[in-house]
C-alpha cells in the first residue's frame, strides 16, 4: 500500500471536519430563514350594486381599511385586494359587485416551530439534537487521532465517528419527516376538524394551530378560519437537505477516508428498500382491507391506515361462499399442469440442447410460434376443441391447456440452462457406456437443478394465474379455480372489497409460503451449481 504521510492525513481530516462544521452553521442559518409561508383571508366584504369610485364603494373601502389597520396593529402583514364583477341586470342596466378581501401573509422560520407545541416540534428537536450530536461526536472521535489513517483507527475513535455518521443521516432523513408532519397537521387535521371527523386530541391540536398562527388576534369559528388557510413550504426548508447531505459526506470522509463506495452502497440500499416497499405495498393493502368492515373499505374521509376493528369473520363469510373449494381446484390445476409441462418439456429441451437432428431449427421456430396466440385469442377454438374431447367444464381440460401453453416457455428456459452447462461430463459418460437417459437423469438434471426449479416456478405461477380460459370454459361453480371464484365478490354495481381481498389473501398465502421454500432451495442449488468439478 502507498505510504501516506501523517501530515496528509491530518490535512484531509481537518478539511472533512471543517466541511462538517461549515454545514452545521449553514443549516442553522437556513433554519432561521422562513420555512413556511401561511396565507389566510382574515376578512371579506362584498359591496353590491356599486361602481368603482362611487359612494358605496368608498364607504366599503373605508371599512375594510379600518379593519386592515387594526390587523396591522396586531402585527399581521396584511394586503387588501379587490375583485370587481360586472354584469347586466334584467332591466339592461350595468351593475357591478366589488369584493374586498384582507389577506394576511405570515412567515415562520424553523425556530418558530420550536415553541409552538405542534407535533412537528418534537421532530425539529430531534433534528437539532442529531445535528449537534453528530458534530460533537465527530469532534470527539477526531480528537487525538487526526493524523491516523482511517483503517488504523482505534475502536473508540471509529465508534464515535461511526455514530456521528448515523446521527447526520438521521437528521437528513428527519427533514422530510418534519415537512410531512406539518402537512398532516395543517391540512389533514384541519379538514377532519372542519368535517367534524377528528378523533380525540384533534380539537386541542386545532386550538394550538390557531394560537400558533394568530395568537389571540382572531376570534370566531376556528374551523372555518383555518380551513381557508393556505400554506407553502419555502426553498430554505428543502435547502436543508443538500446541506445535511454535505454534512453527512464530510463525516463519512472522516470515517472511511473516501466517499464513492459508501455512497454507492447507500444508494443501493435505498433502491432495495424503495423497491421492497413498492412491492409489499399492494400486499399491505390486501391484508388490511381483507380485515376491514364494509363501511371502512369505502370510507370517504380516509380516516385510518389500519382497520379500527379487525373483522375476522370476513374469513368465515368467504369460506361459507365456497372459497376453500376454489383453492383446492387451483392447487390441483397448477400441480397437474406443472407436472405435465415438465414431463414433456425436459426431454424436448434435452434433445434441443444436446442432440443434432434434422428439423431442429424448425422445431425451435414452432416452439416460439406456439406462444404467439394467446389463449384469449384461441378461446373460440379451444372451447370447440374441448367440446369435441368432452373436456369442457373440467379441471383436467384446464390442466392440459395450461401445460400446452407453457411448453414453449419451459423448453426455451430449460434449453438455455442445459446449453449453459458443459456437455463434457455427459460425453465422457456416453463413452463409458452410459445411455442418453442415464446421462440426462444422473448427470445433467442435478447440475441443471437451478434452471429446472426456475422453470417449475414459472409454469406453476402461470397456471395459478390463469384466468381467461377458466372464465370461459368453466361454468360449474364447483370446478372454478380461485382466480375465477373471487370475481363473484365484484359485481358490476357493487364490489365487496373486504371479501374480495380476504379471499385473495387466502389464495396468496399458500403460494407465498411455497415460494419461500423453493427460494431457499433455489439459492442452495445455484451456489452448488456454481462450483466447478
Amino acid at each position: 500500500m502507498k505510504k501516506v504521510s501523517s501530515a496528509d492525513v491530518m490535512g484531509k481530516n481537518r478539511k472533512a471536519l471543517i466541511l462538517a462544521a461549515v454545514m452545521v452553521v449553514l443549516a442553522i442559518i437556513l433554519m432561521s430563514l422562513p420555512a413556511y409561508e401561511f396565507g389566510a383571508t382574515l376578512l371579506t366584504k362584498r359591496s353590491g350594486n356599486t361602481f368603482v369610485g362611487d359612494e358605496r364603494y368608498v364607504k366599503a373601502m373605508d371599512e375594510v381599511n379600518a379593519a386592515a389597520d387594526e390587523f396591522r396593529q396586531q402585527g399581521f402583514e396584511v394586503e387588501i385586494s379587490e375583485q370587481v364583477t360586472e354584469r347586466v341586470n334584467s332591466k339592461g342596466e350595468k351593475t357591478s359587485m366589488v369584493a374586498f378581501s384582507v389577506d394576511s401573509t405570515t412567515r415562520y422560520s424553523a425556530w418558530d416551530f420550536l415553541g409552538a407545541g405542534l407535533p412537528s416540534t418534537k421532530v425539529l428537536v430531534l433534528i437539532l439534537v442529531c445535528i449537534a450530536g453528530s458534530l460533537a461526536l465527530a469532534a470527539a472521535g477526531a480528537r487525538g487521532a487526526m493524523d491516523v489513517q482511517h483503517y488504523s483507527l482505534n475502536g473508540r475513535a471509529r465508534n464515535l465517528r461511526n455514530a456521528a455518521c448515523w446521527l447526520a443521516f438521521a437528521a437528513l432523513a428527519l427533514v422530510p419527516v418534519f415537512a410531512m408532519v406539518n402537512t398532516h397537521t395543517f391540512s389533514r387535521q384541519i379538514t377532519l376538524f372542519a368535517g367534524g371527523m377528528g378523533g380525540e386530541g384533534t380539537a386541542e391540536l386545532v386550538e394550538r394551530i390557531g394560537a400558533f398562527l394568530y395568537g389571540d388576534a382572531v376570534s370566531g369559528d376556528l374551523g372555518d378560519l383555518l380551513s381557508g388557510v393556505t400554506y407553502r413550504t419555502t426553498w430554505s426548508l428543502w435547502a436543508l437537505i443538500p446541506v445535511l447531505f454535505a454534512l453527512l459526506c464530510g463525516l463519512i470522509m472522516l470515517l472511511k477516508g473516501e466517499l464513492v463506495s459508501v455512497l454507492s452502497r447507500g444508494a443501493m440500499y435505498l433502491f432495495i428498500i424503495g423497491m421492497s416497499i413498492l412491492i409489499l405495498y399492494p400486499f399491505y393493502v390486501m391484508f388490511i382491507t381483507g380485515f376491514r368492515s364494509n363501511a371502512e373499505t369505502t370510507d370517504m374521509y380516509f380516516l385510518h391506515m389500519l382497520p379500527t376493528q379487525w373483522i375476522w369473520s370476513n374469513m368465515k363469510d368467504i369460506i361459507g361462499r365456497g372459497v376453500l373449494r376454489y383453492l383446492m381446484n387451483s392447487i390441483f390445476l397448477s400441480v397437474g399442469a406443472t407436472t405435465i409441462a415438465m414431463l414433456c418439456g425436459i426431454p424436448a429441451a434435452y434433445a434441443m440442447a444436446r442432440m443434432k437432428f434434422k428439423g431442429k431449427n424448425i422445431f425451435l421456430g414452432f416452439v416460439i410460434m406456439s406462444q404467439m396466440f394467446s389463449p384469449v385469442v384461441l378461446l373460440v377454438g379451444i372451447s370447440q376443441l374441448m367440446n369435441t374431447l368432452k373436456l369442457n367444464d373440467s379441471i383436467i381440460g384446464l390442466m392440459l391447456i395450461n401445460a400446452a401453453f407453457n411448453q414453449a416457455f419451459a423448453i426455451w428456459l430449460l434449453r438455455g440452462t442445459f446449453l449453459s452447462i458443459s456437455s463434457e461430463m455427459e460425453q465422457a459418460a456416453c463413452i463409458d457406456g452410459c445411455n442418453t437417459v442415464e446421462a440426462l437423469i444422473r448427470i445433467l438434471l442435478p447440475m441443471a437443478a437451478p434452471g429446472i426449479v426456475t422453470t417449475l416456478i414459472f409454469v406453476f405461477i402461470n397456471a395459478w394465474n390463469e384466468y381467461t380460459i377458466s372464465t370461459v370454459l368453466i361454468s360449474t361453480p364447483a370446478n372454478k379455480p380461485i382466480t375465477v371464484g373471487i370475481t363473484q365478490f365484484s359485481s358490476f354495481n357493487m364490489i365487496e372489497w373486504q371479501y374480495l381481498f380476504a379471499s385473495a389473501l387466502l389464495a396468496t398465502i399458500p403460494v407465498v409460503i411455497l415460494f419461500m421454500c423453493i427460494e431457499k432451495h433455489l439459492a442452495a442449488g445455484l451456489t452448488s451449481g456454481g462450483v466447478k468439478g
Binding site: A179, T183, H184, T185, S187, M268, I272, M275, I279, P282, V285, M286, T297, F302, H304, I340, P347, A348, R354, M355, K356, F357, V367, M369, S370, Q371, M372, F373, S374, V376, V377, L378, L379, V380, G381, I382, L385, L400, A403, A404, F409, G416, L419, S423, E424, T436, A439, I457, I461, W464, Y467, T468, T483, I486, A507, T508, M516, E519, K520, K532
Partner: protein, 294 residues
Amino acid sequence: MDSILVRHKWEPYVWLLPSIVLMTTFVIFPIMIVFKLAFSEISKAGIVGGFVGLQNFIDAVKAPAFGPVMINTFIWVISVVGLSTLIGFIMAMVLNQDFHGRKIARSIVVFPWATSLVIQASIWNYIIKFEYGNLNNVLLNLGIIKEAINWRATYQIEFMWECGVGIFVTIPFVTFCVLSGLQSIDAAYYEAATVDGANFWQKLRNVTIPLVMPSLTVSTVLNIIYVFNSFPIIYTITKGAPANKTDTLITYLYMLAFYDQKKGPATALSVIGFTILCFVSGIYMMITMKKEDA
C-alpha cells in the same frame, strides 16, 4: 457445438414426441379452428356458415375503435416490456451483489408473482380509487399530500396506471431470468477483468451483458408475447372503458367476441395480431439465432 452421442437417428424425435403431441393438440388445433373462423360467416348465435373471403377483416378494420386500439397496444407493449426489462435488469444486478438481507430481498421480489394478475389488478384498482382508494388514504395520513388526488382523472391516466401495473407485475419475471443468467457467470471472468483494470461500466458492457444475453433474449421474447397477450389487468381496472379507449387488441377482441357477439371480426383481429407478433418475433428470432451460431 456441444452434442452427445446418439445411437439411433430417430432418437431425438422420440425425446420430442410428448411435447409435440401436447402442443399440436391444444395449441395448433385451436389455431386452425380460429383461422377457419376468420374466413367464415358466423351468425350471432355462433353458427358457422360458408367462406366469406376478407369480409370479417374489412368489418374489423373499419370499426372506429380499431385505430386507437392498435395505438394503445403499441404503447402498452413498448412501455411495459421496455421499462420492466430495464428495471428488472437493474434489480437482478443489485440482487446479485452481496449485502445484508439479500435473501429477504430476493424473496420479496418474487412476491408479485405469488398473486395472480386478477388479484394484483383488483388491488391496484382499489388503491387508485379517488373516493376511498388506499393511495390517497396512505399519502394523506402520512402528510405527503395536502388533499385527496384523483389518480384516475382521465382515461389516458388510467391507461398509464394500467401500464404501470403491467410493469410492476412483469419485473419479477425479468429479474429472475437475468439473475439466473448472472449467477451462472464464472467469477473468474470478473477477476480477470479486474486484473486488467476494467471499471464497473467496462465490466458491465464486456462481461455481464454478453454473458446474460441468452437469458435476456428469452425473457424479452416471451415478455413481448405475454405482454401483448395480457388480459386481466386492463379487463379488471377499466374493462376498456370509456368506449374502447383503454383497450388493447386482446381485450378489445374479447369484448367483440363475448360481449358484442361479433365472433367474425374478433377472429379476424386475432389473425391480425398473430401476424404482427410473427413479424416482431421473427426479427428477434433471426437476431438470436445468428448470435448463437456466431
